[in-house]
């Protein structure tokens, strides 16, 4: 945790104005994240378990799930994303007000997972920028909670006054892509067991 200032006696605190504002704003943001669940597959079941009473992510400020992107801070993509849903998640992301963050939950959302085929997006980071990747197939609720805590850490490290420590959302380029085509091809390359299958087979 970043040190904000020095307490000199019980009466006053000496701190830089920027640090104090960042601390106040980031603590508020991190501790009341409203998630927008985008559950497409089995990860959504673990997501629901995380939301329910046993694991209960309301303990970390996610009391209210926003089923409208207009009122959400963090988009949680729980499950594989087919190409048919790519424009849908992009539109949901575009509709969320800034600042906004994205958690990619599970192997399929992060890399395409076992679905290295014609219909599946090979990692949602080719569609929307991702802040935290949670591995697992599906991840246990503890895994998602750890990812949420990592996101808290990331948010608390941002700064309103330092553009390097804050990433502003970029719209799609003139080709309608988020990344250059070469980058998309490169991160979509098969890995693991998939490398034994040729593109043409």
């Amino acid at each position: 945790m970043k040190r904000v200032g020095e307490v000199h006696s019980s009466n006053y605190l000496l701190a830089k104005f920027h640090d104090l504002v960042d601390w106040a704003v980031n603590s508020s943001r991190a501790n009341s994240l409203w998630p927008m669940p985008f559950g497409t597959a089995c990860c959504a079941i673990e997501f629901m378990a995380t939301a329910a009473s046993r694991f209960d992510f309301a303990r970390f400020g996610m009391e209210r799930q926003a089923f409208s992107p207009r009122q959400a801070d963090v988009l949680i993509c729980a499950g594989r994303l087919p190409f048919k849903l790519a424009p849908v998640i992009r539109r949901i992301y575009d509709q969320m007000p800034q600042p906004k963050w994205v958690i990619s939950m599970g192997a399929c959302a992060s890399t395409g997972g076992i679905f290295d085929n014609y219909s599946m997006v090979q990692g949602i980071d080719t569609i929307v920028p991702v802040d935290v990747y949670v591995p697992g197939c599906p991840p246990r609720p503890e895994g998602l909670l750890y990812g949420i805590l990592l996101l808290h850490k990331k948010i608390k490290g941002e700064s309103l006054f330092d553009a390097v420590r804050r990433r502003d959302e970029q719209p799609l380029d003139e080709k309608g892509l988020r990344l250059p085509p070469e980058t998309i091809d490169e991160i979509s390359e098969p890995f693991g067991n998939s490398i034994h299958q040729f593109r043409s087979s």
Binding site: A86, D116, Y118, S119, V121, L172, G176, R199, S201
Partner: protein, 198 residues
């Protein structure tokens, strides 16, 4: 039975499989549905098979069931993959064949003549890479990943549905009377009157 309609009948694994030439499919299906003693009133599934052996023809498979007689029957039509991939649609006999045939069309590119609304159903309508379940289709698709992402992001999600599918007013005329009556009473909201054809 219709002369020339039965090419071959096989009983295998407790299932009866009947091979029918393409030109006799519709009359055979009508016969199977409407003849007393046959009464195959339920079409369970329509699917297709392409074999690894490229010599073998594609098969369109119909799973029939008679709810009255508790009997099952499989009907197969063989199509040469080099020839024209089309069979007659059976939507006129079983309304449920509508989406099943659309799925076979989407995945295999087999056209069903006489189908009222033959569009892709799983892939989006502007999908240009071909028919994914054909053996000649590469596992990861024909285009590069970047091109696939570009096409997907530039697709208009609303364009996946026809205006009829988006409109309750249009669907109203297709609903059975008792459901329309329930809807009119307000149990599940109000249904507008279907548009009248001039």
């Amino acid at each position: 039975m219709i002369p020339g309609a039965l090419r071959e009948a096989v009983a295998r694994d407790g299932e009866t499989i009947v091979y029918v030439p393409r030109e006799h499919l519709l009359e055979t299906m009508t016969w199977l549905k409407e003849t007393p003693g046959q009464e195959y009133d339920y079409l369970v599934d329509v699917t297709a098979v392409e074999f690894r052996d490229r010599e073998r023809p594609l098969e369109v498979v119909y799973f029939l069931r008679s709810l009255q007689r508790k009997a099952d029957l499989r009907v197969k039509v063989e199509l040469e993959s080099a020839g024209e991939l089309s069979v007659d649609s059976v939507v006129g006999l079983w309304r449920g064949a509508d989406w099943l045939e659309r799925e076979v069309y989407d995945m295999f590119g087999i056209t069903f003549t006489g189908h009222p609304d033959l569009r892709r159903i799983l892939m989006w309508e502007t999908y240009a890479e071909g028919y994914p379940l054909r053996k000649s289709f590469p596992l990861r698709g024909r285009f590069s990943r970047a091109e696939q992402v570009r096409q997907a992001l530039n697709a208009n999600p609303e364009a996946h549905y026809s205006m009829e599918e988006l409109s309750i007013a249009e669907a109203g005329g297709d609903l059975p009377d008792d459901m329309r009556e329930r809807l009119r009473r307000g149990e599940r909201g109000v249904i507008p009157e279907p548009p009248r054809n001039p």
